[in-house]
Symmetry: D4
Subunit: 226 residues, 8 copies
């Protein structure tokens, strides 16, 4: 690819992600490292903030070495480049994860929300095979403005939670599981087939998307207060 | 089935649907007409309201003949039995449908919202194959608190709308289409794979579920105002 | 089909079902009414017992009219022809059903167990979207020798129950649900992907098979006591 | 991930696996080596027993080097850390494997049962393409309390065995095969579609789950003897 | 459709089926009754033989009423119009069916072979869940020139037979079964995944195709004798 | 493989691709490097042109080192060996790509067209989530003789474009996307289910095939002008 | 549905189909008869032309009885209401159908083309199982400007034709076939996987879509001639 | 795995493959190199012949280095260890391959037949996209006793061949192709859906199985001649 084309693409790429308020985000999966560095440096030079998802530890390491200001988190596989103060919102978000293997997706949601000014409260390892744990935190979950429920395998957590709280519940199926989990499709279908009572769903492993859906809800609230 | 068991089930059935604020709803598909009549009469006697979904015209006709107060709508295949004033909420909901064949699902959402006190604004036949129609109403859509976008076939409407508005967008895939629409699965998957920017999805043809998701969002807003 | 071939088949058919102790059972689905009557009369003449599954109300009516002794149950779609005292077993079996639509499958299991001498205890409408109902009966469930858990939609009931009891749990997915339930496959896969802790599964809508699996367990127990 | 979070997770993880009597088990697949070592050492310090599944030879080697007491088995890909005497149960368990490629899954079941006090009897390479081998051992199989039948490809072994014995039969499909075996789904579906006579099924390649199902059956027996 | 076009099609249709020695066959499924009658009468007038498959009893009745010479068989859903002596071949063909529900497909194969001069020997209800029945006839099966093995559900019969005989084995999966039989796909895949030792397979429910494959084998033999 | 066989194959291979005017093309995926070099050298010696697709950068590097005349492009993964002047055609082709990740497939189409004498105009990053970009170029797109529209994820771009232009539109689904994109199948099905108005589709990621379809259209035009 | 809404929809519906030159078409499948009649009468009153697809014979009969001018064709299940002279185009279109069962889809394509001014030449029953028929007409096919190839079952006809002609080939898979044809998906996939040399594909059974794609090609040609 | 168990398995493994005349064959895929070497050496010591399939070049190299007598072929990925004269049969077998990428599967069939005494005649690169090549050899193909037709992509070769010859045709789908070939499933389904006229099919990429099916046919012929 000749240079000018690549530069052009890098520009477009960031530009494309600035629509609808979900700006300054780059999806790193499948992008070459040179391409990513060019995007990061361009944002760095302009003194803006940047958030990146699906960034493997190897890539993260290279980014941090090149741009020490950049903060990479290996659990959520996201990075942040913060040069301007993050916004602050008063909304409360509860993020639930069924098992330890669902934590990376939950953390992707949490870090995304954080970048847009919402600090989420974590409730991890509250899967339905150990109901006592979920029941011991459910009162606290109920007090949040919005719930993100992350679960793999049979994906039942959002259904149970949806039956216990009245706030919006966004379900995130994960590809966690073996054999018949079908790379997350079983959890996805299980979540959809039960969602008659108002639980909505995002794509498999899409913690970022769940956070964006929550942010749209908070945004609606804020814009109405005026 | 002996009589006492059936009575028992009828009771349970309504009881089961009163959780989480989504009460007084009966899902008629697959239920025998006697069973449905028993539920309706029980609610009638108690002077309460009742909402019913997935009710075929044949069944609707029998219900209306038995209970003249009951209002059946053949487009949305829903019925309402109103004996107490419906609540009134100030939230604004926009319901978009891509094609005329998607209208029944859109109307199921509209009638559900109406039962819970939200009057929705309709924008039908605004599918992406005729962009001018969508673009001519988009400013009005933008001013609503929440958008429900209903589409079959390739299911692209919610993606386009999600790129044009900042409010919550709830996508409803429909089973409208032929050959490779796979009974709505193509629309469903298309909606999920694009939802990175915060569009969330409910089950195929699930207008009721979409309305419930919208109601949870409005509910969150209201409960916070206090 | 010439007469001798048909007679031959009728004989074989019953013969085929007398293996492994699960004898005197006829699967009516797809069988012509003449064929079924021939089997029933042959058993009647020999003074034996017979159990039939997947028998539609229309067929059941014809059978009862021809053979008044025959007892048909429209909920489970099974019939019994009892001419010898049923066995009696001391084992206790708990049958759970998630929703009212799962009851026919649960009843097929209950009637099967009954035919082989086991009276089951019913716990219906205990699905996970209303946890309080399940929790209010779980202590009684725990005291049974074996649990059959029937659920459609997202199929999460057996997982939750499996986490709360130590006895064998046999999961039965049902084809109850819409859109992404995939005719029961979603519930089936959800049950399998979670069964690491010893919940085993039978085919979709197979209440008969679940009862047989329970009977094998009870049989093992009994044969060892000697 | 900060340290305290990781420690927290390790604790939770073991804690999560101690429910329902299936305690002290860790599922190694997808866990990082540091995480596993932390769990093992924590158990070591407390003088308890631990069982691990889905542990690759590379990981097994590291574990054994760090904790020489730990016993790793490359065929079943399981490890045991035994510091207290294992329980002893009088139940007899027969484990059948159709082909040599099914042995790893069968061994996972055998080692799991062993950890919980049940010594299983092995009948390997008894697939239906060579009936004489199965028939020559079937009398011995019949005398066991429970049968686990492991098979890939067309998955017919459990059906044949279920027709020859009266004890509980737990079927385990494996992902062994090529082309149309669909990563084990063909064997799974074949096992389910034939299980009318009381054979129940666990997830693909889930030897651990099959052993747990057998242990639930034995547990039921024992608890009733009192 | 104008008349000349339809006549044209009728001519073509029979013409199309006279290639490769598999002539004078008409596949009735999906054809309108007028179209079928026109084909039959055209063959009748020319004094030739005709064989028809997939003909429902209703259609068969109309055909027989119009053309009394025509012989319709409701089990195999085939008809024969014989006006010239059938050929006679010395080849021996064994047709096995696993269950009674597989008999229609087996009979379609038998009637097809008969039309082309091969009288088949039937071995029905020899499914693998009752091995004794299969084993009691296997010596007779071994003596045939070719074996057609018909099975639904888990489709294991051809694998077992293929392991016991050295002659060609043609497997026919049927759509018999429930839940996970996937309309015959499970049986099909099970047969294919096991066919390493020379069992070949035809399409689901395709008794006609299996007979044709056998006839090709016999034809090869005959042509070589010269 | 003995040498003469391999030579034979190399010859055949090129030979096979010279049918229908789509000559001198080699599909490199799955071919061994020696095999490819032999083909290239054979063409080099004969002074002809050659086009290659699906050539990884590693392979491309080896080819260029051996045959410096050969021009390899890492974005489209194609190579050209030009020894005779390329043809020149006056047809205009517009190639649209929805996202940056769809560019490699779009470039494969562009380079293919170029090899056959058609210079395409690029419109990249015009996906439907940012309608303004598409709308800003649509007038220019309309003036082309044929449009190739490349899109992954939900694959909606060709539908939108098909609604805005009257020229032939060839849709290319790509395997770009996550979770429910199903390796491009969702985009493929979405494109097909919407193509009622004359958009036709080629295989997933098949930029080469799309260009060939365009060339057939241009060819028809040219041949008619005479 | 209240009257004004229905009128509104009828208007919209026709309106929606007038985009991109594919105007005055109504897709009857799934539309209620009253709705269709209203559309037809509205067009009748305005003296315009109308084309309808997917119209069952029962519906067709009602339409003709109400509007005698309307011409219904039961083979293609289409109707035409001609009140103004059809356009005339000089382009030549060849329509091929593999078997007699594919004729309805081929005729839908032919009637669509006719409505827009293109008289197609029919080549039916030229499937690949009888190559001589195809080869005997191929020279005539080659002389057309565009080829539509319709095939069910294994869908190989377009591949063979694509290898024999240089003009554009549009492939239409049909749902004709049994067992593994998967309602046309096998033919669809077979056509796509082979289309490397420029054959493009429309949706299953979509004769209308294929004709529209051909018309776009002809349209391109015409517009350039000016 | 302890030594005695492994020895045991090696013995069993060869033993298992000596049934039904298809003896002395080892399927190398998935077997560890030590295991394979042990089998080979055991056969070497006993002076018998051995045939191996699915052996990668890396494994083949190790085998040849250890046992120089062993003959490894990288195209078919098979090896032969010949210590006794191969049988000789007079049967003629034609093996057709559609494209060059199908050659490895075709060669697996050829080498298998050779090991059992049948020399096959090769007709490679005769796919239907270049009919002239197939037609130029079809007379020679017709003279063989049996045809094996290997094809990937759309898998149409066996259908065409089946329409041109009267001998048995065994179809082998291959996993060759991209996008919608679905790892060979499209070719498999295409072959099955067309096999009404007596073409039978083996598993995807199963050249070995096809040869075995041919050998069963030859065997039937031979045994009858006596």
């Amino acid at each position: 690819m000749d240079n000018s084309l690549l530069t052009n693409i890098a520009n477009l790429d960031v530009g494309r992600l600035t629509r609808n308020g979900f700006h300054e985000v780059v999806f790193a999966e499948g992008k070459e490292i040179d391409h990513l560095l060019r995007i990061c440096r361009s944002v760095l030079d302009q003194g803006r903030n940047l958030f990146g998802t699906r960034t493997t530890p190897d890539v993260g390491k290279v980014l941090v070495e090149s741009i020490p200001k950049l903060d990479y988190d290996p659990v959520s596989r996201t990075f942040q480049l913060i040069q301007q103060p993050l916004p602050l919102r008063s909304a409360t978000l509860a993020i639930l994860a069924a098992g330890t293997a669902d934590i990376p997706v939950a953390e992707e949601a949490r870090r995304t929300a954080q970048f847009y000014g919402v600090e989420a409260k974590r409730f991890y390892d509250v899967g339905i095979a150990g109901l006592h744990r979920l029941l011991s935190v459910i009162d606290e979950v109920r007090m949040s403005d919005c719930v993100i429920a992350v679960a793999g395998m049979e994906g039942a957590l959002p259904s149970v939670v949806g039956g216990l709280v009245k706030t919006p519940v966004i379900a995130v199926p994960t590809s966690v599981g073996y054999g018949t989990n079908m790379s997350g499709q079983t959890a996805l279908f299980a979540m959809l087939t039960r969602c008659a009572e108002g639980v909505s769903v995002v794509n498999i492993d899409n913690g970022f998307g769940a956070a964006c859906a929550a942010l749209r809800i908070f945004s609606a609230k804020t814009s109405k207060k005026v």
